[in-house]
């Protein structure tokens, strides 16, 4: 594997509130190699979107990075001035969000939005930018792109809008795309089209993707590696098949077992007792211990760090060592 394109080192994010400071991300570290698709999964509130927002420099105040580093191509980007970050975002790092309507300006035809983005990041004439915009739309599989250029976002269906957003994210020829739940608002059939598109266009360009999602099925068919987050920390990270078939962390195992599947005949779903803790009272030691079937006094007292268990790294004192191939 070549030198990582993105390195996140011990990232911490705080939210100061009236009732004290909440630590929303606590020591998150991972890499993304050039051309790699990393999935980030977890339940609502686990911190996956926050990690993505911190990387693209779009943390919502009062949230702030209070520790750690983010390196892009070996260069620190977490302390860049706002303007420098704005140029980096869009040019080097593209972003795709869940709701395509909020990513598009409702008052501007999509052709103009694409041209504006292209000319912000690339030295193109208006005519060249228009040509390029058409080409991008064509690549994203939008039918009749010439006619579509002059249309407004409300004239598009959800799937078509997300194609436009992908075209926008690709406009600056980024080397990394942060996609936060890009298909969650879409129907399953449209979802399949968009995921396939995302994989194709990034592969063709050799771009890396950080794919944030709560859908394990999408991760299984799209990603090279996957990081599982729980209560603001990565609890397990590793190659996708390995992590799904032989999870080392009890939370990963529980999560995978809870996903309904078309290919197993089980009449009852496995369930994890309890719910994700609130940020205000994250349990001591391993945050998962109150819900964990293997919890011991050590899990209550001491926080485990990520350590290699077979081919994945898991933060657990009692990782599942000999798991059956699911």
């Amino acid at each position: 594997m070549s030198a990582p394109l993105l390195e996140v080192r011990d990232l911490c994010v705080d939210f100061p509130t009236r009732h004290g400071t909440l630590r929303a991300l606590d020591g998150v570290s991972f890499d993304i190699a050039a051309g790699e698709i990393l999935g980030v999964v977890g339940e609502s509130g686990a911190g996956k979107s926050l990690t993505g927002a911190a990387i693209i420099g779009l943390l919502e105040p009062p949230g702030r990075i209070c520790g750690g580093q983010i390196l892009f191509d070996g260069r620190r980007i977490d302390d860049l001035p706002r303007e420098a970050m704005r140029l980096l975002r869009g040019k080097q790092i593209g972003a795709i969000f869940q709701d395509p309507l909020t990513s598009l300006n409702p008052l501007v035809p999509i052709g103009d939005q694409l041209v504006e983005t292209l000319r912000t990041h690339l030295p193109l004439s208006a005519a060249q930018a228009r040509e390029r915009a058409l080409e991008l739309l064509r690549q994203t599989g939008l039918p009749a792109p010439e006619a579509r250029l002059s249309q407004y976002p409300h004239e598009f269906s959800g799937g078509m809008r997300q194609r436009v957003v992908i075209a926008l994210a690709l406009a600056g020829e980024p080397r990394l795309i942060v996609a936060d739940e890009p298909t969650t608002a879409l129907d399953v059939a449209t979802q399949a089209q968009i995921i396939r598109l995302l994989r194709e266009v990034t592969q063709a360009r050799g771009a890396s993707v950080m794919l944030i999602t709560h859908d394990m099925g999408i991760v299984a068919e799209t990603c090279d590696r996957v990081a599982v987050m729980y209560a603001g920390r990565i609890v397990e990270i590793g190659p996708v098949r390995e992590l799904i078939e032989r999870p080392a962390h009890p939370y990963t195992a529980g999560l995978m077992a809870a996903v309904p599947s078309l290919s197993d005949a089980g009449a009852r779903l496995a369930q994890i007792p309890g719910a994700l803790p609130r940020l205000g009272d994250i349990p001591s030691g391993c945050a998962f211990h109150p819900r964990c079937p293997k919890a011991s006094p050590r899990c209550v007292a001491e926080r485990p760090e990520l350590a290699l268990v077979r081919r994945t790294r898991a933060a657990c004192w009692w990782p599942i060592v000999a798991g059956p191939a699911a």
Binding site: E43, S44, S157, G159, M160, D187, V188, A189, T190, Q191, A192, Q193, I195, R196, H214, D215, M216, G217, I218, A220, E221, I244, G254, L255, M256, A258, V259, P260, S261, L262, S263, D264, A267, R268, L269, A270, Q271, I272, P273, A275, L276, A326
Partner: protein, 339 residues
């Protein structure tokens, strides 16, 4: 409860050629000046099915296909523009519009669980009051007995006695959905409509709520209409599955048939599009096109623009839902033996 006395296999809920169309708002000036006729959108058309005691019918389809409208028609939250909905041998809309006593008796027998547990519980009511309301409103128990019943109901969905004093905001999404279930069970209904009950929940919590729903449905032998866009979830809870496309049922089959040998090209497409964690990973089948706007449904079979098997007949003549053994399917290609 009369449902408890009914034999297994008794039909509890039935849709007969059920239809609902909505008038689209046309600006008055347009109507006056250019004589634009008010347009109607057909949300549900010609839907028929039965659900027996102790059975769950899963209803799947993409957003906007009319599945929620169908659910609301079944419990009388919408008025049909064609056909009728029947629960426990009574025409739902005629009964609800009729004498108060009969309407009240019918309301006790059908309940609904909604998708968003944040919107379906009154934030200013305590949980005990939320669950007691249907009991008292329907006169199921005397006020003095209500607390005891509420405690039993909450216990049956895995909540604790102390929870009666709390407000909805003190609960997580999964727990709120448990409260919704307790409220729905309060009047001992025979028929339960669940409209995407787990779509707003995380996977681990979804599993808890699905298992709970399965348990109460079996214990009480409820007839259940389970609406979801998620085929995999439906596979866990349903006995039979109906697939809806642009307001019409395109396939209705026992679960094993539908998942083992899907007939309609749309059902096959939906199944091929499901991402599967544990299956082989060949990548999902490419799916063509999107759901058309229901305002101008395609002529003939509404699915023909996306269908790989469409021919001239499909473009002009609408296929009827025809039975073939236990399976009903509306497709010319299937009926002609082309696929």
């Amino acid at each position: 409860m009369s449902a408890a006395a009914a034999e297994p296999g008794t039909v509890v809920a039935q849709a007969r050629d059920l239809g609902r169309s909505f008038a689209l708002h046309t600006p008055r000036t347009d109507r006056l000046l250019s004589g634009v006729a008010p347009r109607r959108i057909q949300a549900v058309e010609d839907v028929s099915f039965t659900i027996s005691r102790g059975r769950t019918l899963g209803l799947v389809g993409e957003s906007g296909c009319g599945k929620s409208t169908l659910g609301r028609l079944m419990v009388g939250l919408e008025t049909p523009t064609a056909g009728s909905a029947w629960v426990g041998g009574l025409d739902v809309h005629a009964t609800l519009a009729g004498p108060a006593g009969a309407a009240r008796a019918l309301r006790q027998r059908m309940q609904m669980i909604f998708q968003d547990p944040y919107a379906s519980l009154d934030p200013r009511w305590r949980v005990g009051d939320i669950v007691a309301e249907p009991l008292l409103e329907q006169g199921v128990v005397a006020p003095a007995q209500a607390p005891e019943r509420v405690a039993a109901l909450l216990a049956s969905v895995g909540l604790e006695g102390v929870d009666v004093r709390k407000f909805p905001h003190q609960f997580s999404g999964g727990q709120r959905q448990r409260i919704s279930i307790a409220r729905a069970l309060a009047t001992s209904p025979a028929f339960l409509v669940c409209d995407e009950p787990t779509s707003a929940l995380d996977v681990s919590v979804q599993a808890q709520v699905l298992n709970l729903l399965l348990d109460v449905q079996r214990e009480r032998a409820l007839a259940c209409l389970f609406i979801s866009h998620n085929l995999v979830v439906v596979r866990y809870v349903a006995d039979d599955v109906a697939v809806m496309y642009l307001g019409r049922l395109v396939e209705l089959a026992p679960k094993a048939e539908l998942f083992g040998a899907p007939r309609h090209p749309y059902t096959r497409m939906l199944l091929a599009a499901v991402p599967d964690l544990r299956g082989p990973q060949p990548g999902r089948a490419p799916v063509l096109g999107e759901v058309p706007v229901p305002l101008v449904p395609p002529p003939g079979c509404a699915f023909h623009p996306r269908c790989p098997h469409a021919n001239e007949r499909c473009r002009s003549e609408r296929p009827e839902l025809l039975a073939e053994g236990a399976v009903q399917v509306a497709c010319h290609a299937v009926q002609e033996g082309r696929i």
